[in-house]
Symmetry: C2
Subunit: 145 residues, 2 copies
Amino acid sequence: MVGVMAQIQGALVVLRGRGYKVTEPRKRVLKALAEAEKPVSPYEIQEMLGRSGEYLNHVTIYRVLNLLCNLNLAHKVLLRGGFVKCTLGKGEGCHRFVVCRECGTLKEYADKALCAEENEMARDLGFHAEQHFSEFSGVCSKCQV
Amino acid sequence: MVGVMAQIQGALVVLRGRGYKVTEPRKRVLKALAEAEKPVSPYEIQEMLGRSGEYLNHVTIYRVLNLLCNLNLAHKVLLRGGFVKCTLGKGEGCHRFVVCRECGTLKEYADKALCAEENEMARDLGFHAEQHFSEFSGVCSKCQV
DNA sequence: CTTTCTGCAAAAGGTTTGCAGTTAG
DNA sequence: CTAACTGCAAACCTTTTGCAGAAAG
């Protein structure tokens, strides 16, 4: 479990390293993502920040999220909508999610073997696969009856 | 390669069998999906039909698509947005897609073994997986250099 | 004939764009 | 000081809702 501060710091290093400015809005969005336990929408981020008196325009939040996704510091969750911080490092294969249909809890994982299998699958269909987008909907341990 | 007419007829059987009425709008949406070679949005369907002088309100299209997805006669493609007709039968595992990032061509496939592996994966993370959404973005044979 | 379905109008969300002013480096 | 970034206003696109009339079985 990496702390909120450490997560933000790590992301800032990536930003700086890629030539992006470290700004207050970017830090705030990163903080909100670090604190969120489920995928959050841009407006939910705005609300989270609002509770601690930190206003951000929603357009800014959209733009920051877009940047973070491009840098692989965050991901968009398609099944439920919303965004999550990335919790994995590089070189482990595509990032995948398991999402609880009850509480929205999400876990990110990666598996190179799975990627390889899927690439082969795609090849059989005449495709060269580049990205594997994969989300499982299910029930987490807490929500199981 | 199943013909357009046969596809529509097959879908109508399912509709009737489940107690839904066979209506003109539903037949039109099914026809549009059968003719489409890529995922199409509700408004694209409206436009396709418009070209042959068949008007449908977009709300109706949304509702028909929603029904077709519930009956597994169509699927929503998350990566690109839009809907496609289902081309697979039952009992072969989750339906997955490979989508060409260049031309949008899409192929549907299913693989029980993959499902099993993914379920195991999810179990390791404390989840009971129920549905696997899985789309690969890549390049189809025609679009490869 | 009755229930289901469609069209319309309108609203409700979600996301994007252009521009002027601000800020990080 | 300059390029990058943010806020605002407005537009745009997508999806949903409620209701009255139409159509399937």
